[in-house]
């Protein structure tokens, strides 16, 4: 039972980090209907800036600059590539982000080279004991930060002008534009926000229990794909739930790997995708996604 609770808590906390990444996907998708495969490189960019700057300016300032830098990179991708591409087909836009990702990731990994960069965070390898359960402080911080950020965005979507503009755009871009919503600004801000969120996620992916940022850190972004999809690509709540589902599934399947040996070793990595397929079979638009209705 203790193991179960420990696995569950860890699953939830890593799930919260996945949720942050997934939230970025969702925001971009809502505003521009682009599936952003360049998310991994935004993550890497944010993490890289934090890791390089913290010895000089201290952790907190480095984190702020990192978030800002990733937001700028996100906005630049939107401004220089997405906005200018004439492709009407959204698959093509998705593929162009693959190109962006290759360029950014190649350059960043070249700069990171062979190092493992510490993030300089204040939590280090501290843990909290709750009875027999131990949780890393970084994970608690991740959970709290993710919860705060996600709540903030849910509220912002409901109550701010920006949120209304975003929702209106997602609903019907043409009508929104006619109503005076500046589509360019909505889409630019969505990419910037997603970049900032990715930087925060990068921080939590590269602190304890992992040793630091290196060239393979961005691979974690792959896990956010099933998270975003199974929750529903256009639902912020979905991103949260999806992230948690992926985190918990992964943790439990790994933790009970020995009892599930018949499924093959290493099932923990595949399980989130299997869960995703099952959910998509039942609900093709994900748990909270809007079902596309067509009126003819």
């Amino acid at each position: 039972m203790i193991t179960f609770i420990e696995l569950l808590v860890n699953g939830i906390s890593i799930g919260a980090v996945y949720a942050l990444i997934a939230l970025g996907f969702v925001i971009i998708f809502k505003a521009t209907e682009v599936v952003n495969f360049a998310h991994a490189s935004l993550l890497l960019a944010g993490g890289y800036v934090v890791a390089r700057l913290h010895p000089y300016v201290g952790f907190w300032l480095a984190l702020l600059i990192g978030i800002a830098a990733a937001a700028v990179v996100g906005a630049l991708v939107e401004f220089l590539v997405i906005r200018r591409s004439k492709a009407a087909n959204h698959s093509v836009l998705a593929i162009v982000t693959i190109g962006v990702d290759i360029v950014l990731t190649t350059e960043l990994t070249r700069r990171i080279g062979t190092e493992v960069l510490a993030m300089g965070d204040p939590w280090e390898s501290g843990v909290v004991h709750l009875g027999p359960i131990t949780i890393a402080q970084t994970r608690i911080a991740a959970l709290v930060v993710a919860a705060l950020l996600i709540t903030a965005f849910l509220l912002a979507f409901k109550f701010t002008g920006w949120g209304v503009a975003m929702r209106a755009t997602a609903e019907d871009p043409e009508t929104a534009a006619l109503m005076g919503v500046r589509l360019g600004r909505v889409s630019l801000s969505a990419w910037a926000v997603a970049g900032g969120l990715a930087a925060v996620a990068a921080l939590f992916l590269c602190v304890f229990p992992t040793p630091g940022l290196d060239r393979s850190s961005s691979l974690a972004a792959l896990k956010a794909f099933p998270a975003a999809i199974l929750g529903g690509l256009d639902s912020t709540t979905g991103a949260l739930v999806g992230g948690l589902v992926v985190g918990v599934t992964e943790a439990l399947m790994t933790g009970y790997q020995n009892d599930l040996a018949f499924l093959g070793r290493g099932i923990g990595d595949v399980a989130p995708f299997l869960v995703m397929i099952v959910i998509l079979l039942l609900r093709p638009a994900g748990l909270f996604g809007t079902k596309e209705l067509a009126r003819v």
């Binding site: 591409s85 004439k86 693959i98 360029v103 794909f225 093709p284």
Partner: protein, 352 residues
């Protein structure tokens, strides 16, 4: 008439290649041919029908492993094993089509990622079929006693014909057949229906196109092309390795069709050649290139330069060449009417 002469020249050049070029070029060419077959397949699906698939590498794996298993485990003659492997890849695509049929756009794209991760899990774990992490040795293809292998020795016009030289012709023939068939599909009724589905699915349905059937059909056909590419790859590699059939391979295929030109056979072939050749050329001639430094000396290494160029090519093509490289060649030909081009004129519409 002038077109026939062009084609004849292409044929002569193609036949002459293995007599002159060394193994490295033949192998690179064969990888490009296999990639071209695979890219034609995904272009039918993603380019022509508008179904984003990131699972293409899975179907290559099915083709490659099925060929090995059918010929070695079941002892079937290798040509039959190859045909069955392609069919099995089609069946695998068919099995996925209930899912594919329900999902649209991005949902489908990411759902197909499950094929990659699930597929690699199987490749590593079903050891008695896949050989696990070690992979399996690929038996050479043998048609009517003629083996596509280094032995028995064969010398043509004083040139020793090993596995690569022999496979060169097989690869060319398979690519030609695959291209002609796909062109037939695209130019005919099915092609028009597929393009209509891509451009407006509901309208297609209203006009009487059986949307579900066509979407499933495109998935199966594209999987079979993937399977054939997998068989060809296995024959060139002479060994199947599970690491190879990962997400990067799938992304490469998507990049190929975007670079070459969506929705057409010529585009797929050009994109495949570009993506397969670029890193090899850069690595091989890295000494002579400016801005590219020797590996390990700290600057941009050839492999990195290739990645950067490749990523930039995807972005650049989407931004500046909506018709891909094929579209560029076509417009060049329009401006220079006397310039013959060895490309088949597929006349299919592509994404604007």
């Amino acid at each position: 008439m002038s077109r026939l002469i062009t084609w004849a020249a292409v044929l002569v050049a193609f036949v002459a290649v293995p007599f002159y070029l060394e193994g490295f070029w033949l192998q690179t060419g064969l990888f490009a041919m296999s990639a071209a077959v695979g890219a034609i397949g995904i272009n039918l699906l993603t380019g022509a029908t508008g179904q984003l698939s990131m699972g293409h590498a899975f179907f290559l794996a099915v083709g490659a492993y099925a060929y090995v298993s059918f010929s070695d485990d079941l002892g079937l003659p290798t040509p039959i094993a190859a045909v069955l492997a392609v069919l099995l890849a089609g069946v695998a695509g068919g099995l996925f089509s209930p899912i594919a049929g329900r999902l649209r756009g991005a949902y489908l794209g990411i759902a197909t990622l499950a094929l990659i991760f699930g597929g690699q899990h199987l490749l590593f774990n079903v050891e008695h079929v896949t050989g696990g992490f070690n992979g399996r040795a690929v038996p050479p293809l043998e048609i009517f006693g003629f083996a596509f292998a280094d032995a028995p020795e064969l010398i043509l016009m004083n040139v020793p014909f090993g596995a690569l030289e022999r496979l060169w012709f097989l690869g060319g023939a398979l690519l030609l057949l695959a291209a002609l068939f796909a062109r037939g599909v695209l130019r005919g009724r099915p092609g028009r229906a597929m393009n209509t589905i891509r451009d407006h699915e509901i309208a297609a349905g209203v006009m009487g196109v059986p949307v579900t059937r066509y979407r499933a059909g495109a998935f199966v056909l594209s999987s079979m092309y993937g399977g054939l590419a997998g068989v060809m790859l296995a024959l060139v590699f002479q060994r199947t390795v599970p690491d190879y059939f990962g997400i990067l391979l799938s992304l490469d295929y998507l990049a190929m069709i975007v670079i070459g030109g969506l929705g057409s056979v010529g585009g797929a072939v050009i994109g495949a050649v570009f993506v397969s050749l670029l890193p090899q050329l850069l690595t091989r001639y890295s000494d002579a290139l400016p801005l590219v430094s020797a590996p390990g000396s700290g600057g941009v290494s050839p492999a990195e330069a290739a990645r950067l160029l490749y990523g930039a090519a995807v972005v650049g093509v989407v931004l500046f060449l909506p018709g891909g490289l094929l579209g560029l060649l076509r417009s060049l030909r329009l401006r220079l009417p006397s310039l013959p081009t060895p490309l088949p004129d597929t006349r299919s519409s592509h994404v604007s």
